[in-house]
Symmetry: C2
Subunit: 335 residues, 2 copies
């Protein structure tokens, strides 16, 4: 594990409330013109992530993939594409703009820019609308909302050109909200080390054969990148009770893995999102435990040939919880 | 119906997206010192609502209550209290500050300030935290969040003094989200008049004996105030498909009325909130149709003696909807 910037471990200070919701960009380039692995040095990626105020913490790699763990989530680079996700108050669109400016649009085949609804939208440096206004200077595209406005939803913008995404390019997101008390307590334990978290999440078993790279944030919070050939999986955990958020993203099938993660985390609500899983409905039917009720179901074919599916599930409540007493002196910024 | 400011009918322009979520303040005063009805002229209330950039459209009244229909929701005034709710981008806390400055804290027994989570939080002029920071200059209080951070929720701030609210002071909110296509189409019909909307909502039957005062906004949107003795009910409708929001607030029992409204509006999701309905759970059990699944249940006794109950229900989805294609040129401000 190559520790690029040891000093930045303090930059991702998890306050009692931390905006876990990610912004995410995928850029597919013309690999005949350039290889993002062979032709670009790590210093390029360092500069790129700095554009959104994130920092590289560490790197793992194999022949086909470089995976950077960031102070605010992750960056994956393949020969023909990159995937970057950042949380907190980063403005990811600036990293996308940097990439466009450095490589030029003629090498770029497809840009997808996605943003989940945020918990603390008022504290964000920009809205999705602001971001796509900036992108619109470079790229013609379409934007969709997957999910109801008053519930969990994702905004997805994609470049609208002649490029057609391969249906083999399947990606998955499994987001867990309000994980159970046991999991939240475990993951907010002071002084927890990466091995204890891997053991709790049973990652050595679930990710056998993957190269792993993880980091425990202070006072809590956990990130892991995992790669195996061209496959990736990344997990980012904001574990604090009452605003817990666990994001699992991969190009391996997370719907079939969902029962394992749901058993450990027992969240009150989950989102499933997939690009190009043609069996989304059948798999969800089979693998999402029956205790979870389907609140939202959205599906859309994009003009770039992607099929995007989004579902939100909730665990029905039968007894009253107490309201959350707010520390109005300490947390006004978050309210 | 006394039409105070006819010109302001254009001020509440409903854009395709309109922030329906209300901010709400209730202030109880010492009626031995002052009567809000007898001692304050309408010009006072006009100035008060101007402080949050709303305007009075019209007024109805009886011996015990004045009800003002506002360009952005409603103001009710009784001898010993006021209730004001405003939506859109109003900054209601400035009206509360004006009231405090004009009357003085020594005449005020209890201030409650409430804010629902917003759809377009990034477009708001302030956050709940900003608002209670301002209130904190005048009032010591406590703040709670009712509802999960990632779901529908209400922030409630109340003055923390020796004053004890009467358990007879029952209030109710019934909020309907994503009303059915039929209701949304009806309520966005061009040129609809108040009588047609009253008929559609069956208000003449449901509110028999009440004095009614309503207004149809351009291009759509509807508000009505209803009073009968000390009783009030007010409805504010943002009817556009995909962001529809119907707020019904009253001191008459809205849980028992819920089946009537739900039958007409058939929303995908509803919130119930009550101050001091001691039978909240039993009534909800009895009156909320079984098709609705309980997603959130919160209950809390406040130190001012109020019992606050909050519930969110959803209608499970079984088939996929298409994603919402966004007009990224026209609606960037809303995204």
């Amino acid at each position: 594990m190559y520790l690029l910037v040891i000093s930045c471990i303090l930059t991702r200070i998890y306050s009692l409330f931390f905006e876990g919701s990610e912004k995410k960009a995928e850029i597919i380039i013309d690999a005949k013109q350039v290889s993002l692995i062979d032709d670009l040095a790590d210093s390029f990626w360092q500069a790129l992530v700095q554009c959104c105020n994130a920092k590289i913490l560490s790197k793992i790699e194999n022949d086909g993939c470089k995976a950077f763990l960031l102070s605010e989530s992750s960056l994956f680079v393949w020969h023909d594409r990159l995937l970057i996700l950042t949380c907190g108050n980063t403005r990811l669109v600036h990293s996308v703009e940097y990439f466009i400016q450095q490589l030029g649009m003629n090498k770029i085949q497809q840009i997808t820019y996605q943003r989940k609804n945020e918990y603390f939208a008022h504290a964000q440096l920009s809205s999705f609308g602001d971001d796509i206004t900036l992108l619109g200077k470079y790229v013609a595209g379409k934007a969709f909302r997957f999910g109801e406005l008053d519930g969990h939803h994702n905004y997805i913008f994609h470049q609208d050109n002649n490029f057609q995404v391969s249906k083999e390019d399947k990606t998955y997101e499994l987001i867990a909200y309000q994980i159970c008390q046991k999991a939240s307590e475990k993951l907010t334990t002071v002084g927890l080390n990466p091995h204890e978290i891997r053991a709790f999440l049973q990652l050595d078993r679930l990710l056998a054969g993957f190269i792993l790279d993880d980091f425990v944030f202070e006072p809590f919070g956990y990130s892991i990148n995992a790669i195996k050939g061209l496959q990736y999986l990344t997990i980012h955990i904001t574990p604090q009770a009452n605003s817990s958020y666990v994001s699992i993203q991969a190009n391996i099938n997370l719907i079939t893995l969902a029962p394992e993660f749901l058993r450990i985390l027992a969240p009150k609500s989950i989102d499933l999102l997939s690009f190009n899983e043609l069996e989304f409905s059948e798999l969800a039917q089979q693998y999402i435990p029956k205790a979870y009720i389907s609140k939202s179901l959205f599906q859309q074919h994009l003009s770039n040939n992607s099929l995007v599916s989004f579902a939100n599930y909730i665990l029905p409540q039968t007894s009253f919880s107490s309201a959350e007493l707010l520390d109005i002196k300490g947390q006004r910024h978050a309210l």
